[in-house]
């Protein structure tokens, strides 16, 4: 293995960027100027076949989840569907967050017994031919409703429109079919985002940890098989696109940290940030870290090429913040709060800053001595985040038996130990990349703070309103890096076997998660 072409390529990749590499980057920049098509072709040529294969695995897995999960039995799917319906049929955004959906959607939800099944783990989906015939009658009846759109879109109403605009395409393609056909086609578009997520995680690990080629595949494949990714990307939910955009940003940052910030990288990071902000509000949590990344990269570039590097910062930052500026401008001129619903949320904040900080701390970590216990009887890191990651499907009402969560601690601890071993071994390298690591940490911290601050708004009525593992999936590239490091931590001889074991473990987790969902809804 040590003399294989793969290893030689990996060794070459390990070296610092050379003049030739820089010239290649310049050629790419010039191709970008030649035209977006040529630039896109150049970028796609750089993607290894293994990355495409990881993407395909993630896509097929999410497609499988889209079948296994009954229609409208994933978090807030009826709300997201209503948003798309409104946008596709009226070209307007939803007006209110009421859950009084359109007649068509309510009729279908009724036929599916949706309100009896969701959050009632003891109740299965429709199970008889008589119920199926009743549903088909309701589906036909629903199409007779002449009122277009759905001005009410529940919790989705406050979200930006980009994901829903894309989902309007499959919606309109299947316009003549039943609502369930439209939903299935829309779910498949979400599944595409799972593929992109796995692809960008592979590419991120390739840039961030270029030394060991097989470890990229371990990371890409394991992430492709994460059941929570498959579940969320197998349903209509902007989270699916958020995961993909976040993974792409991590990749773009890693690329720039390894090869230096040029105009093309700055534009890419700026565009991806803008897309993220237009995809889901949660991206706001990642944005400060991304901007910090642009700043750190510009300072580094300025050391080599002078102040002109700051032009890249201005360009990337300007593009990144353009949706926010545009949104704020429209709100100011139309007499609404500057940041829309976000302003209202900030105004509605309650409790002292100390109370909020204490709450956010405890949402992730054990409470500090002398502080108020906001989560009595709950070990948040374990029960909200770890158990939630191990498995909470459907409307979060489909967990594994408690013993599975306990057993899952064993491989999780093994992965953590192997990763720690790898980090200790490479601590000298880590010190040299402190700036890059700080940027990734800032992105993670920003997202966690956002989730905590949002959850605090519902506290104390609800202990952990947004304490759902899916909200941390924008950090999947970091999990990919941890898995790659863990495999490498097993040593040069055992590393590939450890990497294989990790992939098989994630495959098993995925298969049993789907079986759990099948048992809950159809058992």
């Amino acid at each position: 293995m040590s003399t294989s072409p793969a290893t030689r390529r990996a060794r070459a990749a390990k070296r610092k960027p050379t003049r030739g590499r820089k010239q290649s980057a310049d050629r790419q920049a010039s191709k970008l100027a030649d035209g977006p098509r040529a630039a896109m072709r150049a970028v796609l040529r750089q993607v290894p076949t293994a990355a495409w294969m990881c993407a395909l695995v993630a896509l097929l897995n999410a497609a499988c989840w889209s079948i296994v999960t009954p229609p409208f039995q994933s978090p807030d799917e009826p709300d997201h569907f209503a948003y798309v319906k409104q946008l596709a049929e009226t070209s307007q955004l939803p007006a209110t967050s009421s859950e009084q959906f359109s007649y068509e959607e309510l009729t279908v939800l009724t036929g599916l017994h949706n309100f009896q099944v969701r959050l009632q783990p003891q109740t299965h989906t429709i199970a008889s031919q008589a119920e199926e015939r009743a549903l088909q009658r309701l589906l036909e009846q629903a199409t007779t409703d002449p009122t277009p759109g759905s001005p009410n879109a529940g919790v989705a109403a406050s979200e930006p429109p980009l994901y829903y605009t894309l989902e309007a395409i499959p919606y309109l393609i299947a316009r003549g079919d039943s609502e369930l056909a439209r939903l299935q086609l829309m779910r498949l578009l979400s599944a595409l985002f799972a593929g992109l997520t796995a692809l960008f995680v592979f590419m991120f690990v390739r840039e961030a940890l270029p030394e060991v080629r097989w470890a990229w595949t371990t990371a890409g494949l394991a992430v492709a098989l994460i059941p929570l990714l498959g579940f969320m990307s197998g349903s209509v939910n902007p989270d699916s696109m958020l995961f993909a955009v976040s993974a792409a940003i991590f990749y773009a940052l890693a690329y720039a940290f390894r090869r230096g910030l040029d105009r093309a990288s700055a534009v890419a990071i700026g565009c991806l940030t803008a897309i993220g902000l237009l995809t889901k509000l949660n991206f706001v949590g990642l944005a400060p870290g991304v901007l910090l990344g642009l700043l750190v990269l510009s300072v580094r570039a300025a050391r080599a090429s002078g102040r002109s590097a700051y032009r890249h910062l201005a360009l990337g930052g300007g593009i990144a913040l353009s949706p926010v500026v545009l949104y704020a401008g429209v709100n100011v001129f139309s007499g609404h709060p500057t940041l829309g619903l976000l302003s209202t949320a900030i105004d509605n904040a309650h409790g002292s800053l100390v109370a909020q900080a204490n709450y956010i701390w405890q949402l992730y970590l054990p409470r500090l001595p002398g502080t108020v216990n906001d989560f009595p009887g709950i070990f948040t890191a374990r029960q909200f985040w770890f158990d939630g990651y191990v498995g909470q499907y459907g409307w979060l009402d489909t967990p594994f038996p408690a013993w599975v969560d306990s057993v899952a601690l064993i491989p999780a601890a093994a992965i953590a130990l192997l990763c720690a071993r790898s980090l200790v071994e490479h601590r000298a390298l880590l010190r040299g990349r402190a700036g890059e690591i700080a940027v990734y940490a800032a992105m993670a911290l920003g997202l966690m703070l956002l989730i905590g601050a949002d959850s605090f708004r519902a506290f104390p009525a609800t202990d952990g309103e947004y304490a759902q593992a899916r909200y941390l999936l924008p950090l999947l590239p970091l999990l990919g890096a941890i898995l790659a490091l863990a495999a490498r931590g097993a040593g040069r001889r055992l590393g590939p076997a450890a990497g294989t074991l990790i992939v098989v473990l994630f495959l098993a987790h995925d298969v049993f998660s789907q079986l759990q969902v099948v048992a809950r809804y159809y058992g």
Binding site: A50, M53, L56, V57, L60, N61, C64, I67, V68, P70, L112, L119, Q120, P121, Q122, T125, I126, A127, S128, Q129, E131, E132, D177, L180, A181, L183, Q184, R213, W214, T217, T218, L225, N373, D374, P376, G377, I378, Q383, G388, W395, P399, A402, F459, P460, A461, A467, P496, A497, T500, L501, V503, V504, L507, D510, V511, F512, Q514, L515, A519, G523
Partner: protein, 212 residues
């Protein structure tokens, strides 16, 4: 690489065995209920620690879990004690952070049926709201909260392992999976199986090619 091939084959073989063992188990089914209608009506709620007790419960023998009609967004740890004639028949507990309109607590199966027992559920709570669901009932039959009767009786279900294994129910499950779809039919289950098989084959090939 040899070790990769062995790890992959051993891993897939273990996975296959685990699937077969799981499918040879029986799903839990309802052995009995206290006949309180399942209408999700609130008969009480609390935001503080509480003990709810309900008498005159018939506990079927061999019960492996008790399902209480408690509703919470992030439910607390719940402990259940079943007693009759001053003697504890069975007990169990369930960890916190459960979600939904009911909570299932595994218990040690009692050897025989008990015709009149008291089921007590206790939990620690600070702010989170827990709602008790059931139907109106006279005070003598009502569930009590910390000793004070509420205005209704909580629905309780008693679960035990069913008679048939998942494997023997496979066709029935596959048929159910095909209902409520754009194009209903059992073929949908086959598509899901084919996709899962494709995922496994592609992932295995990639492991052998890139990691091995």
């Amino acid at each position: 690489m040899h070790s990769v091939r062995i790890t992959l084959l051993a891993g897939l073989a273990l996975l296959a065995i685990a699937i077969v063992l799981t499918l040879s188990q029986s799903p839990v089914s309802v052995a009995g209920t206290n006949k309180v209608p399942n209408n999700e009506a609130s008969i009480g709620s609390t935001t503080r620690s509480a003990t709810y007790c309900q008498a005159h419960e018939a506990i079927p023998g061999g019960v492996s879990a008790i399902r209480l009609w408690l509703d919470a967004a992030a439910g607390p740890r719940v402990s259940v004690v079943v007693s009759a004639g001053g003697r504890v028949i069975t007990r169990g507990s369930r960890g916190s952070a459960w979600i939904g309109g009911s909570v299932t607590i595994p218990v040690k199966p009692p050897p025989q049926t008990v015709s009149s027992a008291t089921v007590c559920a206790s939990f620690q709570l600070l702010d989170e709201t827990v709602v008790v669901q059931g139907s109106a009932a006279p005070a003598t039959l009502a569930v009590s909260q910390n000793g004070a009767p509420l205005n209704g009786r909580m629905r309780i279900e008693y679960l035990h392992p069913g008679a048939n294994s998942w494997l023997s129910l496979a066709l029935q499950v596959a048929r159910r999976m095909g209902l409520g779809r754009a194009a209903a039919g059992t073929w949908i289950t086959l598509v899901a199986l084919a996709l899962l098989a494709a995922v496994t084959v592609l992932a295995s090939r990639l492991v052998l090619k890139e990691i091995g």
